[in-house]
Symmetry: C2
Subunit: 356 residues, 2 copies
């Protein structure tokens, strides 16, 4: 690889003149000098060594991106959007790491990013506790956190879909179709976003006048590979639901995300229950393949491209001014009506038999 020295030698000038053209300080250069340097650069196919530049200036050319796992298509998509925004807005490349929702790993990745001089990071959903972030911020990191809200007054920005609204939309949609017995299906492992989804679900159910007929079904899932366990967990929970007496079984189920909804639908089908005839299902995330599920999944879409773009911008702003107070930005979700929701089955319980 050619160095700035080689260019200077070939052009017959000093390296500082070359540096000047590299950094666009053209006003300080003679026309002829400029031309010669340009020519030399082209001839050698020279590209400045970004590592040397970073050592000197302290500015990394990388944006750190931490997601639970790109094997979860939701984060795979988010990663694509972040990469595009980072490139377009800041000409930054992405250093991607999968945390598998593990605090230890998260912390050690932060350490490493610091050692690499990467100061800007987008962090998607770690467990609820955020204290390890504070430490990173203290050490100079600009972090914006996805999928959580900042209860603590901190110097990290929070960007998230408005999950209170998201679950409310799901509940209202179901209630609008006539459902009264609702449940929210969620993994046992709590994350900030899942907590918010619970709150939204409960609040909306309450507002709709549903009390004991709206509940939460927590299913063990742990933090497995790429959240694929979430589909498993959804599938497994179907047996429990099918085992309930029909008169007490929920007729409408909201899941915390599409992977779970897909698993749930398969499990329900396996258990002999039809979606949406016997049970209606609403997912969340609007994964590409949910449009092709059978039945097509009604779900709540998240504006992930817009959020990615906003997060990249916020990282840049915070990098420019680390004293910025933590900001909170919620993005509005959208209900996507497809085929997994129908009115609840007509009551055919024995108690009503004679009244007809």
């Amino acid at each position: 690889m050619a160095t700035i020295q080689d260019v200077a030698a070939l052009a017959g000038v000093s390296i500082s003149s070359v540096s000047n053209v590299l950094n666009g300080r053209t006003e300080k250069l003679g026309r002829e000098t400029y031309r010669r340097i340009e020519a030399a650069i082209r001839e050698l196919g020279y590209r400045p060594n970004l590592v040397a530049r970073q050592l000197k200036t302290g500015n990394a050319h990388l944006l750190g991106v931490l997601v639970p796992s790109t094997a979860n298509p939701m984060f795979g998509e988010l990663a694509v959007h972040i990469e595009a925004a980072a490139k377009e807005q800041q000409n930054l490349r992405v250093l991607l790491a999968n945390s598998h929702r593990d605090r230890e790993q998260e912390s050690s990745i932060f350490e490493e990013l610091l050692a690499l001089g990467v100061h800007g990071v987008i962090l998607a959903s770690s467990p609820t506790d955020e204290s390890h972030l504070e430490a990173a911020v203290e050490r100079g990191m600009a972090v914006v956190s996805y999928d959580r809200d900042g209860d603590h007054a901190s110097r990290v920005d929070h960007v998230s879909p408005d999950y209170m609204i998201a679950t409310r939309m799901a509940v209202e949609h179901l209630v609008g179709k006539g459902h009264r017995r609702l449940t929210l299906l969620t993994p046992d492992l709590k994350t900030a976003s899942r907590v918010r989804k619970r709150e939204g679900f409960l609040a909306a159910a309450h507002a709709a006048g549903l009390g004991a007929t709206a509940n939460i079904l927590e299913v063990i899932a742990g933090a497995g590979h790429g959240d694929s366990n979430l589909a498993d967990a959804g599938y497994a929970s179907a047996a429990r639901i099918a085992a309930m007496p029909a008169s007490r079984r929920p007729t409408g189920i909201v899941t915390i995300n599409d992977m779970m909804a897909l698993g749930l639908m398969a499990g329900l089908h396996h258990a002999g229950l039809s979606v949406p005839r016997d049970v209606s299902v609403v997912g969340m995330d609007n994964l590409v393949m949910t449009a092709y599920a059978n039945p097509p999944l009604t779900t709540v879409a998240i504006p992930s491209r817009e959020m990615a773009s906003a997060m990249v911008r916020m990282v840049a702003e915070r990098l420019a001014d680390p004293t910025l107070a933590g900001r909170e930005t919620l993005f509005a979700p959208t209900l996507i009506e497809r085929g997994s929701v129908a009115p609840p089955p007509a009551r055919t319980s024995p108690s009503r038999k004679g009244t007809a």
Copy 2:
């Protein structure tokens, strides 16, 4: 951030002694000196600046990973496995870029990796032509290419599922169930892997004595965002298939990947055709969610974890010895039988009506 100087000062030694402990040259150190340095490092929370180290040694701490798009869960999963292997085997982090199957982008990413001093790259499926790789190799990159085979004698390694076998497995499975009219559904945009899948399909069909009853249906798809267009293309192709007279319609369809299969199944369903009663479908990749499709998709699984591990190892080997000749490694796929394949429908065409 503390520097090696700070550590040396605090420990009251020279920086080279500190450097020696950092690099494990403990034999050159006095016990007491070593202890003091260790203590200083801990006290300061010192971590060596990897950028400075790289500038000095030339060894990057990053592995470049280029995929079409992590929005395609296949590559999202592959990326996870690569990251894990890179960390475990070489203690390398991953610089991830999405090429969107665009040569221009691929080339410019290579340029940038070079400028960042990243010499090891895993490249997943670019278009068939590979000439831009040669240029990168010439400039010192160690690249291993996924999903293609190296027709050219080059200095890049090739790792791929054996697609000839993969499509053959699919064909034989279908033939074994009694199918005679088969088609392979593939996008118009050709990639090395898709070419291989065609060959395998055709060869297996021929070997099974199928001639004109096995054909290839090419559907326009382009190179859209995250291959989500592949599901669309699969969906769209269903209409064409449904429009065929039943006596000429394929009873068994192999798709080049699961996204297409999922789209196809949805489209078939929409067109009033049942899978697997009217049409059987075999996908490829074994995406997590295919197990939860309705019906569950029979597909050909690819050992992506093993391949990821092999690729990381090969990059390291090639980095160590750039003169290595290009190697070719094919991995055996596995057929996963699920619910999307059944015997073909019994013939009920008018011509046979009277023969019963």
